[in-house]
Subunit: 319 residues, 2 copies
């Protein structure tokens, strides 16, 4: 199978057909029609074998996750996703693997009406780079830099489940079969909080998606907004499985291990009434407040300051 | 050095500041303002160590080339480049290497006024993925699918120089020092034909950039336009070094080895007068004509049909 047959066979079968795509896969560049009067939001995320996923990962999950993490970034800007490009390197053109990879990726693409419009493929070590495009009106964009003193800090869903599932898969922690089943989906097939991000337009001051861990990602909001924050451990939403894990192993999974793909966002007091009326299937919880004093203060159940040992994931740390 | 320090240090120093960038590096997504009434052209190309470049490549050249090959794709659409994203995996955060890589990339970015607006970095085998964005009015876009019977076929510059330089570097062919110096730049620092692509708006029916070799890339135009073509070997523009190489080793370098990053384009007879008035520093030459009969016929100096042994580069062929 040649590279071009491969591209035609698997990627040209992409299932979404948007009216704003003038030319998709197959020319030197895709030709796209962004809507007038909105900003174009563009993000890209890499998934590298042995760094972001285990080499024997189920390809359907990988296809889902590679797109999901990018849609999650768009969600965190309050942007509506539209198009994506795929850059794929793999050691050989494995048709069975590709079929399942595409199945996972295209199922998610269909669910969010995002069209694959281009990309590149090459022989090489297994790695996936996706670039996703969406739209957001300028005034509605949820930036990291707009948190204000007095804002309440919220997170969607629950934190730490993907980390606990990974600990089990790596053999570092043993879960029962039922418990693993309850969290594995959060590791393998995270749900990008796209609808939630769109609902937060006009309500939230700032937002970020939690990929490197709550402390690291909230830290980006604090740094770029030049503010500090106080969060409360007993307010952090945990699944029963993660709750049990925290009881045994401490707070690192929900605070610092990342891979959550939940939104962390800040809302001014005047908008809390409107926020509380929103219905998110994943739920959302207030975990703290933005303060003038720089730095992040973590308060434990007894009101004491908690000092985390490990504050976030960094691909180049520890060299 | 952490991943985030690395990003800040090297990539936040990008030298271009465009008024149409509402938010560049540093948030969940870049926020961009595409111009009203034009299409957004988006392309991406991967460069993988050991596949597209030698592992000991000079990093300044690699930075240049990674961006150049993407600007070349935009040029082939007749698009004006504006923004790009960089996805970089490297085994370790090597500051000296990154500094030189950025120097090559940003020198070219400055020359074409394209701004780095985002991307991702990760530990992993050395590979570079760039996504470039540009604009083109819908009626002016140079598609692969619009060649018409009777169009003359042109190429910019000269073909085969990068291939000859690579043969020398790989030890497969020996060039004199002067001869290698004359072609090495074409391999290491190709010039994207951006101004030429913009000049072809309204004149050319179709265009493609030659990355996989003239025969393969012209073949894409023929296939997508549902036409055939006849080209003449003695019309193919060659540098003196490549001419000498062809005399010894045959036509594979200019026809099929690729890495040229010249434009191949087709022009209807009525526009040839206007085309001939254009001044391209790289020059351009008519090499043949679009015909109704499917397939590509290559005619040699004596008027006989020439049958190439090797028709183009394919990353997954030969498995």
């Amino acid at each position: 199978m040649t590279e071009f047959e491969l591209i035609r066979t698997f990627f040209a079968r992409q299932p979404v057909s948007r009216a704003d795509v003038a030319a998709g896969i197959g020319d030197d560049a895709a030709l796209l029609r962004p809507p007038a009067g909105q900003l174009l939001a563009v993000t890209s995320d890499l998934l590298v074998s042995g760094v972001h996923f285990l080499p024997d990962v189920e390809p359907r999950s990988l296809g889902h996750k590679a797109l999901a993490v990018n849609l999650s970034d768009l969600a965190a800007m309050g942007a509506e996703p539209a198009w994506f490009l795929l850059n794929l390197t793999m050691p050989e053109a494995d048709a069975r693997w590709l079929e399942r990879f595409c199945e996972g990726m295209f199922d998610l693409a269909r669910a969010y009406n995002v069209q694959l419009v281009g990309g590149d493929t090459s022989r090489g070590p297994l790695a996936i780079g996706i670039e996703a495009h969406g739209f957001v009106p300028e005034a509605a964009a949820l930036r990291r830099s707009d948190a204000k003193i007095g804002d309440r800090i919220y997170v969607t869903g629950t934190l730490g489940d993907a980390a606990v599932a990974l600990q089990h898969r790596l053999g570092k922690q043993r879960l029962s079969e039922d418990d693993f089943a309850a969290v594995a989906e959060r590791l393998d097939r995270p749900t990008p909080r796209v609808r939630e991000g769109l609902s937060l337009r006009g309500l939230a001051h700032s937002a970020i998606d939690i990929s490197d861990g709550l402390l690291a990602d909230l830290g980006h909001i604090l740094e770029l907004s030049r503010v500090g924050a106080r969060i409360f451990l007993d307010k952090i939403p945990l699944s029963p499985v993660c709750q049990a894990h925290v009881g045994k192993s401490g707070w690192e999974a929900p605070l610092a291990m990342g891979d959550d793909y939940e939104l962390c966002f800040t809302v001014p007091p005047k908008n809390i009434g409107a926020l509380e009326k929103l219905q998110f299937t994943c739920g959302f919880h207030c975990i703290g407040e933005i303060e003038a004093e720089p730095g992040l203060r973590i308060v434990d159940e007894s009101g004491r300051l908690y000092d985390p040992l490990f504050t976030g994931h960094d691909h180049f740390a520890g060299k």
